[in-house]
């Protein structure tokens, strides 16, 4: 090895050292700790000695009604929010995928909620969902239904709390889908559309046979990212409903924080975190599999 090569290797290690130290101390170590703690009896401020308890915390987690409700809510959240938000994002992208005056302005307006901090979005929507006939949404619905709508206290109603959080999340996130799908639409070669038109394909057929296949990868990406985000939901829940009423709107991460932080049951919270990670990992592997399939076809 030449001296120059050796010095290159040394410099390379100096360059990655700070990043490696950060990743090790603040991602890898806590991750290992989450797994390790989940098999112990650790509680905040408990005088009892630390013990190895095997899979006990995992059993306890799945016995916890709050955690089970959180899991179910996250699944429901994903089942509703992912298709709705993706369809909305796609519709916005299709609307903007043409030349017209004000295109940039509309894109900016639709994308704006994405840059809003979730805590602020949550607070604004608390006001939108305000109870009584003066609440913004109650009033709008009353007008649209010509007065037939009975005003509700959305956030304190077990049937409405979770849907209200879903609406908030769709509003905040659809612009993200739109930007990615718009970039995908613009990457589809125009001559494919022209060729399809020459072959006599109508708008619907062109959409099904040119647009959708061309958007395959961006669509997989936004669907997977939104699914993962659906399992990470926390800020809106904490601020809008605190998981209530009666756990109606709780989520996995809300239960993790409530268990480990509010109640000090660190080990149980760690076990819940590991379950959450396994879910996210599963979704990610599914994405990689789907993307790879595409690679083989080409």
């Amino acid at each position: 090895m030449s001296p120059w090569r050796r010095s290159e290797a040394r410099i390379a290690w100096w360059l990655v050292a700070p990043a490696l130290a950060g990743l090790g101390a603040f991602i890898l170590l806590p991750f290992a700790l989450a797994v390790a703690l989940s098999f112990t009896s650790l509680r905040m401020g408990s005088p009892l000695p630390l013990e190895y308890v095997g899979w006990e915390n995992y059993r306890l987690a799945f016995d916890e009604p709050g955690f089970r409700r959180g899991l179910a809510n996250n699944v429901l959240f994903a089942l509703v929010v992912v298709p709705v938000q993706t369809a909305l994002g796609l519709a916005l992208a299709l609307l903007l995928d043409r030349r017209f005056h004000g295109r940039l302005l509309f894109r900016t307006l639709f994308f704006m909620p994405v840059v809003f901090p979730l805590s602020l979005v949550a607070v604004v929507w608390v006001l939108v969902f305000a109870p009584g006939p003066d609440g913004l949404l109650n009033a709008v619905l009353a007008t649209l239904s010509l007065g037939a709508w009975e005003p509700r206290d959305f956030l304190n109603d077990p049937a409405w709390a979770l849907p209200a959080i879903m609406v908030t999340s769709v509003w905040q996130g659809a612009g993200f889908q739109m930007v990615i799908l718009l970039a995908g639409l613009q990457a589809i070669p125009r001559h494919l559309y022209e060729a399809a038109a020459v072959d006599g394909a109508g708008r619907m057929r062109r959409f099904l046979h040119v647009t959708l296949p061309g958007l395959r990868n961006p669509l997989i990406f936004v669907v997977i990212v939104t699914t993962i985000l659906s399992f990470r939901v926390f800020d809106q829940v904490r601020i809008m409903t605190r998981g209530g009423p009666q756990d109606a709107s709780t989520t996995v991460i809300h239960e993790v924080v409530r268990t480990a932080f509010d109640q000090g049951q660190v080990a149980l919270g760690a076990a819940m975190s590991v379950v959450f990670f396994v879910i996210v990992l599963g979704i990610t592997l599914l994405q990689r599999g789907l993307m790879r399939q595409r690679g083989e076809v080409q």
């Binding site: 090569r5 010095s7 410099i11 390379a12 290690w13 360059l15 990655v16 700070p18 990043a19 490696l20 130290a21 950060g22 603040f26 991602i27 890898l28 170590l29 806590p30 991750f31 700790l33 989450a34 703690l37 916005l92 609307l95 509309f106 307006l109 639709f110 704006m112 809003f116 901090p117 805590s119 602020l120 929507w125 006001l127 939108v128 003066d134 609440g135 913004l136 009033a139 709008v140 009353a142 509003w171 930007v179 718009l182 970039a183 995908g184 990868n217 961006p218 990406f221 800020d235 904490r238 601020i239 991460i253 924080v257 932080f261 660190v266 919270g269 975190s273 590991v274 959450f276 990670f277």
Partner: protein, 279 residues
């Protein structure tokens, strides 16, 4: 296609665009208008179209935000924390991305694999053990503990790495032949040619961390070190409930991100789309 058909379609497209604008921009307008109204009017007018017009505009609510909570302190904390994350992050992650993309060294592939693997771990999965870990060191309730854990970032490293891979090698080789070392080549040749990557990473990092809520919630107890998201979460439960004040707080809180977003929109949209297409 016939002309009337085209006209109908164009009108339809604009109607849809306006409906979407009402949906996405409506709540923003509601916040802006409400922030300059007397508290009583915010809810009273919420049910009418007047909810979206300022009416009797006054900046009273804004003054009251500063009186009722330490708003300047929340803002300063948010700026300090985000400045540290973005500033240090650009240096640390760009260095790592460059070493991975261009230098030849033993262990390179293992480090690259580690970075890609860590991309999968969401912060929420490690928040609790990390909270326990730093508390155990006695490190909590300051600005640094809210920033340092987020400096090294696998996504930023990966974005820099793939950007540097795409740069033409000839520039760097010319500099090396002229006798420039690795570091000088990086600073004088690579960095000036990578403004787009630095801008995108900086803006995405800033916008993402500006809204951080969970970590400060776990790590802080004193008002002096708390950032804006915790501030608004506390403020909106603080009696007396004054919606005008809360909305004014919201406008002030989102102003820096909106400015960054509108001024650098091109970089940002590019960064998001770039992450999306590559991801």
């Amino acid at each position: 296609m016939s002309r009337p058909g085209l006209l109908v379609r164009m009108v339809l497209a604009y109607v849809l665009l306006l409906a979407c604008t009402a949906l996405f921009f409506g709540p923003v307008l509601f916040m802006l208008a409400g922030s300059v109204k007397p508290d009583a009017l915010v809810l009273a007018e919420a049910g009418t179209l007047r909810a979206f017009v300022p009416g009797s505009a006054s900046l009273e609510n804004y003054g009251s935000v500063f009186e009722r909570v330490p708003f300047a302190s929340y803002m300063a904390s948010s700026l300090i924390i985000n400045g540290l994350i973005v500033g240090l992050g650009l240096v640390v992650n760009a260095f790592a991305g460059y070493a991975l993309a261009r230098l030849r060294w033993w262990g390179r592939n293992a480090v690259l694999a580690l970075v890609l693997a860590l991309l999968v771990i969401p912060f929420e999965a490690i928040a609790i053990p990390l909270f326990y870990q730093v508390s155990w060191l006695g490190w909590r309730d300051d600005h640094l503990v809210q920033a340092i854990p987020f400096v090294a970032n696998p996504l930023a490293i990966y974005l820099f790495y793939s950007f540097f891979l795409g740069l033409p090698r000839e520039l760097e080789e010319a500099a090396r032949i002229d006798g420039a070392g690795v570091l000088r080549t990086f600073l004088t040749i690579v960095v000036p040619n990578s403004r787009a990557a630095f801008a995108s990473v900086a803006i995405v990092t800033f916008l993402f961390h500006w809204g951080m809520y969970l970590w400060p919630l776990l790590m802080t107890t004193s008002e002096q070190v708390r950032p804006l998201p915790l501030g608004i979460a506390t403020f909106h439960t603080l009696p007396p409930l004054a919606w005008g004040d809360i909305l004014a707080f919201g406008v002030l809180m989102v102003l820096p991100v909106l400015v960054v977003f509108v001024v650098f929109q091109r970089w940002f949209v590019q960064g998001v789309a770039w992450a999306g297409v590559k991801g």
